[in-house]
């Protein structure tokens, strides 16, 4: 065996398992999904028809799909904003020298280790059984209605749970970023008579911009893919008002056996998610360089 061949064999031994698994589990199904989106098939018969772009024109007239798209966009926008705002605020406060800061960091982060399916069930109990009691004690009308039975409330129930689950996670990332800022820099600014808000605006925020790029990216992608929480908390209801894209596609594929149409919807889902996150990272990275 010549040294070159031997080298190549070694290279192949190390790289092939990963490449093979990637090809079998991700690439092959992904390619098949693209092919599916140009076909019409019921999942059982041997007769698979090619129908060109028909699936794509059909899904733009599918009101349930468009509605779930609309819901998902609204959910992503509101939850991304709130979890980052609250996570960052928690990080600012728990980066100060508080006596209980370590215990509090643990507490705020803890919900994030529990699976989102279980969390959906936990909150279904809290909202349906504990909220009426809170209403009784406090007289607050907002806790009297069952949040899961009214479309407007159900949306905010999902947002509330998402904040409870995610805020501590983003807090942890922001704390790491805040700790990266050198103390000398902040002290120098204080000596120069810079006030608290100027310090925040002109020194801290530009220095944690990188963390904002990451956190927005994570919040957007996880928001778009939300599934377990919708299934466990609202089942997409009431009246399909909180059906996320992921849940809609799942239902279409397995409840309605609409394999090819569901694949088309999933491909469009991928294209939209991919473009939004690419644009977000590109725009924010460019700003990082300027700063």
């Amino acid at each position: 065996m010549t040294p070159t061949i031997k080298k190549r064999l070694v290279y192949a031994t190390f790289v092939t398992p990963a490449v093979l698994l990637f090809a079998l589990i991700i690439m092959l199904p992904f390619a098949r999904a693209i092919v599916f989106s140009f076909q019409d098939w019921d999942g059982i018969s041997s007769d698979i028809k090619w129908i060109g772009w028909e699936n794509y024109t059909a899904i733009f007239q599918d009101t349930a799909y468009l509605k779930s798209f609309g819901f998902t966009l609204k959910y992503v926008a509101v939850s991304t904003l709130l979890v980052n705002l609250i996570g960052f605020s928690l990080a600012i406060v728990l980066n100060m020298k508080l006596k209980t800061k370590n215990a509090l960091r643990t507490v705020f982060f803890m919900p994030h280790v529990i699976g989102t399916l279980i969390i959906g069930f936990i909150w279904q109990f809290i909202i349906s059984q504990a909220f009426p009691q809170i209403a009784e004690w406090t007289g607050l009308h907002i806790f009297e209605v069952n949040w899961l039975s009214y479309p407007g409330y159900a949306f905010w129930a999902l947002i509330m749970v998402s904040v409870w689950y995610n805020a501590g996670y983003f807090m942890v990332i922001y704390i790491a970023a805040l700790q990266g800022i050198s103390n000398e820099l902040l002290e120098a600014a204080e000596i120069d008579g810079v006030n608290r808000w100027q310090k925040m605006w002109h020194i801290v925020l530009p220095l944690v911009r990188n963390a904002f790029t990451i956190c927005l990216f994570l919040a957007i992608t996880s928001g778009f893919k939300v599934f377990d929480l919708n299934l466990a908390l609202t089942k997409g209801g009431p009246f399909g008002s909180t059906e996320s894209l992921a849940l809609h596609i799942y239902q279409d594929a397995f409840a309605n056996n609409n394999y090819t149409l569901a694949s088309t919807k999933a491909i469009l889902f991928f294209i939209v998610l991919g473009s939004i996150t690419l644009i977000q990272v590109f725009v924010m990275k460019r700003k990082e360089v300027e700063a």
């Binding site: 070694v10 290279y11 190390f14 790289v15 398992p17 990963a18 698994l21 990637f22 079998l24 589990i25 991700i26 690439m27 092959l28 199904p29 992904f30 098949r32 999904a33 599916f36 406060v93 728990l94 100060m96 020298k97 209980t100 509090l104 960091r105 643990t106 507490v107 982060f109 803890m110 919900p111 280790v113 529990i114 699976g115 989102t116 399916l117 279980i118 069930f121 936990i122 109990f125 809290i126 059984q129 504990a130 409870w164 501590g168 990332i173 790491a176 970023a177 002290e187 204080e190 990451i214 994570l218 599934f227 596609i249 799942y250 394999y259 694949s263 999933a266 998610l273 991919g274 996150t277």
Partner: protein
């Protein structure tokens, strides 16, 4: 300049403590109500149990077949994570140390897959899985987790190995080690910090994952904790004393894991996010 502990800070601290307690309330309510009788939950969900009903847990333990589903979750998580660590560190090693067109193409292709939502591959994956007899058995789902876990793990290893000086490996080669020896004896020990990060990220994900088990594991013998909880909750909808005991059982292992591994988990999550 040392920060003073002013009265303003005390107010802030008290406010945060109250907020922290509010965050804990849902979990507290699950645990205390899991010990109550059904009618007691309905009349006073917030009060402390009058008498602790351990029966709830005994019933759920048996009906949910908790030891069995716990074992399945454990086996799936452990073997999936081990495979992900091995395959992606091995691949990342050669991709970094033998740069070139092939390595670049492989790295970028695998990397770009991270953004594809699971739903996009879900239907064809099931068909591929059926062809390869990967449905309804533990090895099947473990292999699928290997595939889904590799992109992020490979990316994190790739970034880390680029920062490891190559001199150590060269010295070992001169001393007569072959590539396998260098990988196992020199590189793997150096990779420990990033390996911990990757292991934690993937453990949390796979342990808690619901959708993949939901679509590929149907038979009772292979169910995981989230899947069994989902089925149990569906059957005992609104039988809150049992449903809550099931949830408490599902939550305890991961909370215990978190409290013991807290430092590593928080470091791992941060490192994973910042590099990803």
């Amino acid at each position: 300049m040392k920060e003073r502990y002013s009265s303003g800070k005390l107010v802030l601290e008290l406010f945060m403590v109250v907020l922290g307690l509010i965050v804990l309330v849902p979990l507290y309510l699950v645990f205390i109500n899991a010990f109550k009788r059904y009618d007691e939950i309905l009349t006073s969900a917030a009060s402390f149990p009058q008498a602790f009903q351990f029966d709830n847990f005994a019933t759920v333990w048996q009906e949910m077949r908790f030891p069995s589903v716990f074992g399945n979750s454990l086996v799936i998580t452990v073997f999936s994570v081990l495979g992900i660590l091995l395959f992606s560190s091995a691949a990342a090693y050669q991709l970094v140390r033998r740069p070139g067109k092939v390595s670049n193409v492989i790295f970028l292709a695998i990397l770009s897959a991270m953004i594809i939502p699971f739903q996009t591959m879900m239907i064809p994956l099931l068909m591929v899985a059926k062809d390869f007899h990967m449905i309804n058995n533990l090895p099947g789902i473990i292999i699928m987790y290997w595939g889904f876990g590799i992109p992020l793990a490979l990316f994190l290893y790739h970034g880390f190995i680029k920062g490891v000086p190559v001199e150590l490996e060269e010295a070992a080669t001169i001393d007569g080690s072959n590539t396998f020896g260098v990988y196992f004896r020199i590189l793997l020990p150096l990779l420990k910090p990033i390996t911990v990060t990757i292991a934690i990220l993937h453990t949390l994900w796979i342990w808690n994952d619901f959708l993949l088990p939901y679509v590929v594991l149907n038979s009772k013998a292979v169910q995981t904790i989230p899947l069994a909880s989902y089925i149990y909750f569906g059957e005992y909808m609104n039988q809150w004393h049992l449903a809550l005991a099931a949830m408490a059982l599902a939550v305890v292992p991961i909370i215990v894991f978190f409290l013991f591994m807290q430092r590593y988990i928080i470091q791992g999550i941060t490192a994973g996010a910042v590099k990803g």
